[in-house]
């Protein structure tokens, strides 16, 4: 019953149809280009922290921060100066000073500052009486990402100042009898990278985007191409011919998979060429993962095309599925940033596993064995959705 030749004829015609629409082809190339461009520049590569030189590194260099020194003591001024030296030296902050907290706060509200560090009255006195002193940090909460960067970088700068002071304090107390480094920082950390060069955020994003492009490209493609033929009436031409419905479905799926893979390939090439993403893994395994990612979703595409009364609705339905998946499946942010119930939804979607597997292959050079759980889940998805979709298609076409 199943006819391989006809399936390939149908697939070829679908691709020819696409090829004849030159403007659409241009758009389909532009889409990953824009995506990769936008996110590539939004996530600049982060310099890696180097513990040996106390280098903190920042993805957001030179954030404006203001010091308010309310204490007139010598220590307060000395440490404020040290703060300026360390943070400007490492290009973390551009530091200004204000006379009062209220002035600084106004500037922050106006958007001129991202953070305020206050040395309160009694700061020097506390240190002089050999108790610990406090500084007060206020950040611009309207931007949570920048806020947490400022917080952790301020803490980092004070860590450096702290250990420096501790060394001095200990030396002053016991006169150099013990190695003060042993007391201040008995254990120090050296970062041993998992892969030879440093991983930028983009290294995380790129494989996710490739997975997203391939998977949703074919989902939208299958749904659109079937409902388009239904709406225009050409589907009757296929159905009235002695062609099995399996061959029609398979033909459409093959065409849209090829389309998705080409788009995914463009995304990958661009991220390598423009954003220096390094591919560590095997291209063959990558293609297998991309193919399975596509297969896992075409059933959904078929269901959408049979449920939607016209092409426009099918298109919107497919995009409606595509959009939340971008967030739920760990494409833009690690899934761990989501509340646990959302994580569960994300993990119920095959895109999560496609992105996960692709990331492991691209970044960590994972072997087929290591990503086998992902692979098996994708295969299971493909099988189950197809088994559900094909009879539904059959029913919808003949009723």
């Amino acid at each position: 019953m199943f006819d391989l030749d006809l399936m390939i004829d149908i697939a070829k015609r679908d691709l020819l149809d696409l090829w004849m629409a030159k403007m659409l082809v241009v758009m389909l190339v532009m889409l990953p280009l824009l995506f990769i461009g936008m996110f590539g520049y939004m996530y600049p590569p982060a310099p890696s922290p180097n513990p040996n030189t106390n280098n903190l590194g920042s993805a957001y260099p030179n954030l404006p921060v203001c010091l308010v020194v309310m204490d007139n003591g010598q220590m307060a001024n000395k440490i404020a100066l040290q703060f300026i030296q360390v943070s400007t030296g490492q290009r973390l902050f551009t530091v200004s000073e204000a006379a009062s907290f209220q002035d600084a706060r106004n500037m922050l509200v106006e958007g001129k500052l991202k953070g305020i560090v206050v040395f309160p009255q009694g700061f020097s006195a506390a240190l002089a009486s050999k108790t610990s002193a406090t500084v007060q940090v206020t950040v611009d909460e309207t931007n949570p990402t920048i806020a947490s960067v400022v917080r952790s970088e301020v803490a980092g700068v004070f860590n450096i100042i702290d250990s420096d002071m501790s060394v001095h304090n200990i030396d002053a107390i016991d006169g150099g009898q013990v190695n003060s480094g042993f007391l201040v920082q008995p254990i120090s950390i050296i970062n041993e990278p998992l892969i030879s060069s440093s991983a930028s955020s983009f290294q995380f994003l790129a494989p996710g985007f490739v997975a997203l492009t391939v998977v949703t490209g074919s989902l939208v493609g299958v749904a659109t191409s079937i409902s388009k033929e239904k709406e225009q009436g050409t589907m009757d031409g296929l159905l009235v011919a002695p062609v099995s419905q399996m061959a029609i479905i398979a033909g459409k799926v093959i065409a849209q998979t090829v389309r998705g893979l080409i788009q995914g390939f463009i995304t990958l090439v661009l991220s390598v060429l423009i954003f220096n993403v390094t591919i560590y893994g095997s291209p063959i395994i990558m293609v297998i993962v991309m193919f399975l990612g596509t297969a896992s979703f075409v059933g959904v595409g078929i269901v959408v095309s049979t449920v939607a009364p016209d092409q426009e609705t099918a298109n919107v339905m497919a995009s409606l599925l595509q959009f939340p998946m971008m967030f739920l499946c760990g494409i833009m942010f690690p899934i761990e940033q989501l509340p646990s119930w959302m994580q569960l939804i994300g993990k119920a979607l095959p895109l999560y596993y496609a992105a996960d597997a692709l990331r492991k292959v691209v970044i960590l050079n994972a072997s087929m064995n290591l990503i086998m759980p992902d692979i098996l889940i994708l295969i299971a998805y493909a099988a189950v959705t197809m088994v559900l979709a094909v009879p539904l298609f059959d029913k919808a076409m003949r009723k």
Binding site: V240, A241, M397
Partner: protein, 259 residues
């Protein structure tokens, strides 16, 4: 044995009965005209006979094969020109015809020869490599008709083949239909044009509300109603009331989604 035969053929869409216990026979080599107001059930009959729609009850055989149980045998022997154009507008005439011909497994050299002949027949050879989207409606319909003839079917369904065409194209298509009849093909034709039924159909079947209201030669029908005008016959049979309806079945025709 009739080429097409239906027994109590019925199709319901929810509450709406589009075709109601239809029993008709069409002989081989005949042009059988289906006439009826909008929503009378003409297209539903064509879709069931061409295996695109399952009957709710009753049965139909086409070329001796049951449309439900032996759909594939039916498909090989029929050609369909439906209300909507079955052509891909982005592709050229040649690309379209090659694609649809392959679906019937016509072998490559025969297919190419046939496409050339048919394009010549409908005088479109010089436009064969232009996209269908750039064609006029008359040109499109000429390609659409030869698209249904690529596998040389015994039975041809023409659902309103000249609606919206200019008189030249209409005349051209009528001549083409007569030519097919002269070669022994059986043709089922639906139309709103009384002139078309008069000119082409050996027998006219007037359908309303899914039922046969009259089924005879046009001469016999005119004699019966004492008129020389097919339009008078038609209006006598179906009444003068306007058929405005927005049934779900009509709004979704051709888009199989139905609740």
């Amino acid at each position: 044995m009739p080429e097409i035969e239906t027994h109590d053929l019925t199709r319901r869409f929810g509450e709406f009965t589009a075709v109601d216990n239809l029993s008709v026979q069409v002989q081989r080599g005949e042009i059988y005209g289906l006439l009826g107001p909008n929503g009378a059930g003409k297209s539903t009959i064509i879709r069931m006979l061409s295996t695109l729609l399952m009957p709710t009850s009753g049965s139909a055989t086409v070329a001796g094969f049951d449309v439900s149980r032996e759909a594939n045998d039916v498909k090989k022997r029929i050609g369909l020109v439906s209300e909507k154009l079955i052509l891909y507008t982005r592709l050229t005439a040649t690309q379209n015809l090659l694609f649809f011909g392959r679906l019937y497994k016509v072998d490559s050299s025969t297919l190419k020869k046939r496409i050339d002949e048919l394009l010549e027949l409908v005088k479109l050879t010089q436009f064969k490599d232009k996209a269908i989207g750039s064609y006029s409606s008359g040109m499109r319909q000429r390609v659409n008709i030869i698209r249904a003839l690529l596998h040389d079917p015994e039975i041809i369904f023409l659902d309103e083949p000249t609606t919206g065409l200019d008189p030249q194209s209409t005349r051209f298509i009528w001549d083409l239909v007569k030519r097919l009849k002269s070669r022994g093909r059986t043709i089922i034709l639906t139309t709103h044009m009384m002139e078309e039924a008069d000119e082409l159909a050996d027998r006219v079947c007037i359908i309303d509300h899914g039922k046969v209201m009259a089924d005879d030669t046009s001469r016999a029908l005119k004699d019966k109603f004492h008129t020389e005008s097919m339009l008078d016959v038609f209006l006598s049979v179906t009444g003068r009331e306007l058929r405005d309806s927005t049934s779900q079945h009509l709004s979704m025709r051709g888009m199989m989604a139905e609740a």
